[in-house]
Amino acid sequence: MNIKAAFFLAYKTIVRGSKGTLIMTILIMTLAYVNLIFISSIFGGIVEAINEQYIDNLYGNIVITPASDKIYIENKQTSSINHIPGIVAISAHYINDALISYDEYKDGNNIQQGKWKIKSVNVEDEKRVTAISDSIISGEYLDDKDRDKIVIGKEIAGGQGGDLDYLSLGGVLVGDTIDVKFSNNIKRTYTIKGIFSTKNNQADQMAFITRKEMESILGVHNLSSEIIIKTIEKGQEEQYIESIRQSGFYDEEIRTWEQLTGFTSSASKSFMMISIILGAIGTIVAGITIFIIIFVSIVNKRRQIGILKAIGMEESTIILSFIMQAVFYAIIGILLGISIILFVIRPFFVDNPLDFPVGWVSLKITFDIIKISNISLMIAALIGGFIPAFRGTRESILDAIWG
C-alpha cells in the first residue's frame, strides 16, 4: 500500500473531477449530517424541556423526604445544607392532601370540589428554588404575611385550557373564595390570590399557602414534608447526596429529580430510541449515497483501474484512494454541517424556540451528539467507500481493460 500515491490520486480526482458531482456529494453529506444532529438535538431538546419543567416547578434538583417510618422531616438544620458548595437554595414544604370546594352562588347547590395537594412555602426560599412565582397568569404570588390567601394551579382553577379541566373547580378567578378541608378535618376559607400555569400539569395541580398558615392548621412547628434543593448545575446531583446526608439527614430519603421523574425517564428513553432509529436511517442513507458515488466513479474508471493495476499499483492503494475520497466528502460534510448547525440553525431556535406542550423546546446540541454524529458519518463514509472500491478493484486486470 502506498499512502502517498493513494492520497495523490484521491486529491486529483476531487480537484479535477466533475464540480457538479463534488458539490452534489458534499451537499448530500452536509444534509445527512445536519439531519443527524438536528434529530438528536431536537429530541434532546424535548427531553430537556420536560426535565426542566420538573426541576423548575416540582422537584428542584434534589428532594429530601421523611424517613420511611416518619411523617415529617424533623431535622431543623436546613441551613447546614445551604452551606454545601454548589447548593444554591433550599425550600421546605409541608404537604397536605386537602379537599378544596367552590360554591359559586353560595347556596350549596352547585359545589365544585376535588382533592389536591396543598403545599406551604416560605416565599423567599421558594422563589429561589422554583419558578412557580414566575408562572402566575392572573393575580399575584403569596407574601409571607398572607394568612387567608391561596395560590392555585390552573388545573385546579379550571377554565384556563388545562388538560384536566373536567376535574377542576370549573373556572374560579382571582378574588373568589374557596373552602379547604385539610386532612385533619380543619376547614378554612381562602381568597384566591393568584393562579399559575406551568407546562407541567402535575405542577399545575398544586396549591400554595404560607408556611405560618400551614403550621397553624397542622399544629406543628419547624418540621417539613419535603425539602427541595436547587444545585448550581443539572446532571451533577449525585455528588451532593452524600454531603447532604452528612449534614444531618441520616435516615431521610434523598433523591434526585431524575429518580423521581419515572415517567419522564421512560419518555426520554422512547425519544432516545426514536432519535437513534432516525439517526441510523440517516447514517445508512449517507452511507448509501457515498456508496453510489464511489460506485459510479469506479464503473467509469474500470479500464483505468485495470491499467493502474497493470502498471503495478496495488489494489490496496487504489482502495485507499477511494476511501480517502469518501472520507473527504464526509469531513467537508461535517464541517459545513456543523457550521450550519452552530451558526444558522441553533441561533434560529434559540431566538424562536418551539412551543411544545412540554415546554419551550430548543435544540440541545451536546458534545456527545456531535461526537456520535461525526463517528456515524465517518463510519458510513468508510463502509460506503470501501465496499465498491473493494469490489471494483478485485476484477482481474484483463477483464477490467478489455471486458
Binding site: 495523490f8 490520486l9 480537484v15 483505468q304 502498471i311 503495478g312 484483463l398
Partner: protein, 224 residues
C-alpha cells in the same frame, strides 16, 4: 537474453476449453524490437498478456532476465510489473484527472522515488516523447496520438526491461500512428529499449527488427 518463452500453453476453461496458445517457444534478445503479427484471433494479445504477467499461463515457462516467473505469487507479479515491465494499451489508458506530467511520474511515486527526482525524470521523459509543451494538459486536452505518447512515457519511466504494446496505434489516424511507431523506433535505437508490440498492420514491419507470426496459437515463422 531478456525473455525466454518455453512451451507456453494457455487454455481458457469453460464448457468447451479453448486452446489459445498451443505450446509457444521463442527467445528475445535485449534491445530487440519485435512485432507479434497474425490474423485476428490468432492469440497475439493472449501471448502478450502472458509475457507481461497480466495473466497466468496453463503450462510452460517465461523466463525474464533469467528469472522464472511461472510460480510467481500475485504480489511478486505486481512488484515485477512495476519494476521491470511497461505496457502501452490501445487507448483510453490515462486517468482523466491527471495531467501528462502527473500520469508519467505516477509509477515513480509508486516505487517510492522522492518528489524532486520523479518530477525531473518525468520532464525528461516528456522531452523524449516530444510533449514538453503538453506537460500540464489533461487527457481531454490532448489528441489520441499525444495521449498514446504520454502512455508510452508512463510505461518507460521506471526504465522497464521490456516494453509491451498491444496494437498501440489501432485507434490513431495514420499520421499519429507514424509518430508513435517512430517514437518506438527512436527509443529502441537510442536507449536500447526492448519492445514487443502486437500489430496487425503489415506495414509496421519496417520499424521492427523481427516479426513473430502467430497462427492458431502456434508460431509459424520468425524473421522479417
Amino acid at each position: 537474453m531478456i525473455i525466454e518463452v518455453k512451451k507456453l500453453k494457455k487454455t481458457y476453461g469453460g464448457k468447451i476449453p479453448t486452446h489459445v496458445l498451443k505450446g509457444v517457444s521463442f527467445e528475445v534478445e535485449k534491445g530487440e524490437f519485435i512485432a507479434l503479427m497474425g490474423r485476428s484471433g490468432s492469440g497475439k494479445s493472449t501471448l502478450l498478456h502472458q509475457l507481461g504477467l497480466l495473466d497466468s499461463p496453463s503450462s510452460g515457462d517465461i523466463i525474464i532476465d533469467g528469472i522464472s516467473t511461472i510460480n510467481f505469487t500475485q504480489k511478486q507479479k505486481n512488484e515485477f510489473r512495476l519494476k521491470k515491465l511497461g505496457y502501452v494499451f490501445q487507448a483510453y489508458a490515462l486517468l482523466p484527472e491527471l495531467t501528462a506530467l502527473e500520469s508519467i511520474y505516477l509509477p515513480l511515486m509508486l516505487s517510492g522515488v522522492p518528489k524532486s527526482q520523479y518530477i525531473k525524470k518525468a520532464l525528461e521523459m516528456l522531452e523524449k516523447v516530444g510533449l514538453s509543451e503538453r506537460r500540464n494538459h489533461l487527457p481531454k486536452e490532448m489528441s489520441g496520438g499525444e495521449q498514446q505518447r504520454v502512455a508510452i512515457a508512463r510505461a518507460l519511466i521506471n526504465e522497464p526491461a521490456i516494453l509491451f504494446a498491444d496494437e498501440p496505434t489501432a485507434n490513431l489516424d495514420s499520421e499519429s500512428s507514424e509518430t508513435v511507431l517512430k517514437l518506438f523506433k527512436k527509443l529502441n535505437k537510442e536507449i536500447g529499449q526492448t519492445i514487443i508490440m502486437v500489430t496487425h498492420e503489415p506495414d509496421d514491419k519496417k520499424y521492427v527488427d523481427r516479426v513473430i507470426w502467430l497462427k492458431d496459437g502456434t508460431i509459424t515463422s520468425e524473421g522479417i
